[in-house]
């Protein structure tokens, strides 16, 4: 292990960075794979219960109108993508930066710090996408049938991808802003409002009867994922025009990623 044995500069930096990126992603996928049941339980349980209680139980008892579950299901796909993306990124990041310092070995890998952040976003998005896809068979099982249009699938996939990225972006911002001592309070302060103001349980246009709440929900980017998902699967329900949703989501993503990567640099480099 002498200095002479090292083929310094033999591998082009770009190739080297790509390899490092792939290895870090492989590490994350391996860890997820080795705890797959835990992962699935973690991401499915919450939407499953929401679906069961609001879609099935309340409907069977006659408290919700017929067709409510059709409206709820796309919203829950949106919710699953955003929340899973956020949780996957934010919680471990706070712990890694603040407590276990596990991330240091990756920060010292021959790749730019922005790429370390990008890997986190990509991995969180992949997990969120997986969880959202799993919700489709779960929905069929719980509800018996789900609203489905093949012609809406491309838009649905776009909504899933944007929702997963949005969740990851929110997670990156939260994960780099929050210190470990505050993790509980911050997450409960952010998580619950996010969960219930994202229009996953009601379509946004119908809120015209509650104008102040309509304004609040318009500020939650998750609203646009829910609306996009409804446009894809239940276009007969009044919804925000898809292109508006896409523009808002892309703009939100740009802002979140910029703030998140900056926060990541601040945590990674003094």
């Amino acid at each position: 292990m002498t200095a002479a044995a090292i083929p310094a500069g033999v591998t082009a930096p770009a190739v080297k960075q790509r390899r490092a990126f792939a290895a870090v992603l492989r590490r994350d996928l391996l860890v997820t794979w080795s705890e797959l049941p835990v992962f699935l339980a973690q991401v499915i349980l919450q939407p499953l219960f929401l679906l069961f209680v609001f879609g099935k139980v309340l409907g069977s008892l006659g408290y919700t109108q017929h067709g409510y579950s059709d409206l709820l299901f796309p919203g829950l796909l949106a919710l699953t993508s955003v929340i899973t993306g956020m949780q996957t990124l934010a919680f471990p990041l706070v712990i890694e930066f603040g407590w276990t310092k596990e991330i240091e070995d990756r920060l010292l890998a021959p790749m730019s710090t922005a790429l370390v952040a990008a890997e986190k976003v990509l991995f969180a998005s992949l997990r969120a996408l997986t969880a959202t896809l799993v919700m489709i068979p779960v929905g069929i099982l719980v509800l018996g049938s789900i609203p489905w249009r093949w012609s809406g699938v491309p838009l649905m996939v776009l909504a899933m991808v944007l929702g997963s990225l949005l969740g990851a972006g929110l997670g990156l911002v939260l994960g780099t802003l929050v210190v470990p001592q505050r993790i509980n309070i911050v997450f409960s302060l952010v998580f619950t409002p996010l969960l219930f103001t994202g229009c996953s349980q009601y379509p946004w246009p119908s809120l015209s009867r509650l104008p102040w709440f309509q304004v609040v929900t318009a500020c939650n980017p998750m609203t646009y994922v829910s609306e996009l998902m409804r446009a894809a699967l239940v276009p007969e329900v009044p919804h925000i025009t898809p292109w508006v949703c896409i523009v808002v989501l892309v703009c939100s993503l740009i802002v979140l990623m910029a703030v998140g990567v900056r926060g990541f640099y601040r945590r990674a480099i003094d």
């Binding site: 200095a3 080297k16 003094d270």
Partner: protein, 328 residues
């Protein structure tokens, strides 16, 4: 090419009124073991942070393995490895995977990484524990794993931050032995420590740091030799019949070159007519060089030297001399 080259390096943290590192300049040669010694808060960790791309310098330049750390952090990271003070092992992976994934991050091909991991696990006494996750590891075991992990990509410079702080004596000896082996294999080691003994034992050269400045930098022996009057020479003199007393000789001793101060010591024998008396000479430079001159001086006066004891200064003395305070 130097392994580490630092020039006029400065770090001032935001909202701070003083520089954490205040314009330091030094070089470390390939294969050298370099020890940065100083109390907590001296700026050692910040210095290592800048050298290892984790702290952005305010000004100045740092090179590791010939790569400018500030300008090309990505390439610099291939040149170096870091063993932190506290475990940062990946708790979701087994020990062996901690090693092989580290290698993968650095682009080492899988087969090669696997062979290296086997070698290193063996060498660090971890062969049986390769499949264990690091959660339950003691400080000493984690330290061993982290050193092994650091070596997986064959870095040019290995940075160790307080490598044995908090370890029990046996674990400390084990780590010291491994570090000496690495030195023999020509790996450049850069360690920070506030343990004088560790620095004197391992380092080829020691830099002493306080308040962000490098106060002295040399081989340990030279640092100690340069210390005014802290080597001592204690003489036991067999008093003759010709009426010399210790006091009458003090002036003669003080005129010897290198002697700074002379102090007669109280008689340690309870017998009043013990023919020996004792005197301590404070010496700059090496005390042993004064044994012959003092013996000659005594012989000229009809006295004989019956015992000599050399007291060498420690790095601790050097540190106290430079900073006016103890290390902790």
């Amino acid at each position: 090419m130097t392994a580490v080259e630092v020039s006029e390096l400065v770090k001032r943290y935001p909202k701070s009124t003083v520089n954490a590192v205040d314009g330091i300049t030094f070089e470390v040669a390939p294969g050298e073991v370099f020890g940065l010694l100083g109390p907590n808060g001296a700026g050692k960790t910040t210095t290592v942070g800048m050298l290892t791309t984790r702290v952005k310098p305010t000004s100045g330049r740092a090179m590791v393995g010939g790569v400018d750390v500030g300008a090309d952090a990505v390439r610099a990271r291939s040149m170096l490895a870091v063993v932190p003070q506290r475990s940062n092992l990946d708790r979701s992976l087994s020990i062996r995977r901690n090693l092989t994934f580290h290698a993968a991050y650095h682009g080492v091909p899988a087969a090669e990484a696997s062979a290296r991991a086997d070698d290193l696990l063996e060498q660090f006494g971890l062969r049986e524990r390769g499949d264990v996750k690091p959660d339950l590891f003691s400080g000493g075991q984690s330290q061993r794993v982290m050193i092994a992990r650091a070596l997986m990509h064959e870095p040019q410079v290995l940075f160790l931050d307080e490598p044995t702080t908090g370890l029990d004596p046996a674990a400390r000896l084990f780590v010291w032995d491994r570090l000496r082996e690495l030195r023999e294999r020509g790996v450049t080691l850069f360690l920070t420590t506030h343990d004088m003994h560790e620095a004197a034992l391992l380092a080829d050269r020691v830099g002493i740091m306080d308040h962000g400045k490098l106060l002295a930098l040399d081989v340990p022996e030279a640092l100690m030799r340069g210390l005014p009057g802290s080597s001592t020479l204690e003489l036991s003199v067999h008093a003759g019949e010709n009426g010399h007393t210790p006091d009458s000789l003090i002036g003669d001793f003080e005129r010897l070159p290198g002697v700074e101060r002379v102090e007669p010591l109280p008689q340690d024998s309870p017998e009043p007519d013990d023919p020996h008396w004792h005197v301590r000479l404070y010496v700059s430079g090496e005390a042993s060089a004064l044994v012959a001159p003092t013996a000659t001086l005594l012989a000229e006066r009809g006295l004989s030297l019956s015992g000599v004891e050399l007291g060498e200064p420690t790095l601790e003395d050097v540190f106290i001399h430079l900073t006016g305070r103890t290390l902790r």
